[in-house]
Symmetry: C2
Subunit: 128 residues, 2 copies
DNA sequence: ATCTATTTTTAGAATCATTCTAATTTTTCA
DNA sequence: TGAAAAATTAGAATGATTCTAAAAATAGAT
């Protein structure tokens, strides 16, 4: 594994956020591990193919990268923010229900995050 | 509702496939209901906002549009083909498991479709 | 160490579905 | 009939991501 790849993996694994390629690129520069954005994309693809990271795609937002520990995601409909959630035995339940062999699944639960809820209350008032 | 919007809605509701904006555009032209691609996109957005159609986004493929009857999707990892599947009471089960209020959910189950499985057997052999 | 071969990185162009802009046409209904 | 609103249009713009081809770094073999 390349130094760049290792750094990128570290950044992802040490982050509690869900980082975009751009954000990872910026964090790399902070570490003086200068690399161009294309390199970040290259490494992210490789890491993804190797199953070392997860990619979270939400319509309207750039892809975000995440550790591989099994978990699902809440997506805020207002700001796009991702939060982790773990649903026990979902994979098994799904596999049981669909007859065909499942490779994997991708579940996103839409909600409004607490920040956005607060904002709504604050100035939103009753916009009905 | 506009004539274009009505046609587009019809096309989607009468199709068993999962059509892209481009495909819908082509079908419109067949009906002599000529409209430009931007118009198709405009109408699709409106229909989507009104909750009259569903949008299915899969990474690497253009968005596809679908009827709103509640169902989930199988996605072929090889060719991207979508198939419908209905998982009973999933919404309720999910809502019960995640404490926060759920707006909706989006589940995609990855698998290999029968066509691609057949192709693999045919010339794939044991590429291991 | 030294010389290939392979891999990685780079800069910058290209892609392409989708959105935007501003102008034009169509529809609405007073 | 005419003014305001809505829908359509052509074409440019967007923007995240991928591609290209060249340069740099790394690894393996002698």
């Amino acid at each position: 594994m390349t130094k760049n790849a290792r750094y990128i993996l570290e950044i992802i694994n040490n982050s509690t956020e869900h980082l975009t390629a751009e954000q990872i690129y910026l964090r790399l520069r902070e570490k003086n591990a200068k690399a161009v954005l294309a390199t970040v994309y290259n490494n992210l693809s490789t890491l993804y193919e190797q199953g070392l990271i997860q990619k979270v795609c939400v319509e309207g937002y750039p892809d975000r990268y995440d550790k591989t520990v099994r978990h699902d995601h809440l997506v805020c409909k207002k700001c796009g923010k991702l939060s982790d959630i773990t649903l026990e035995d979902l994979a098994e339940k799904l596999q049981k229900q669909i007859g065909v062999p499942m490779i994997s699944y991708d579940l996103k639960i839409n909600h409004i995050c607490t920040e956005c809820l607060a904002k709504e209350k604050e100035h939103g008032g009753d916009k009905s």
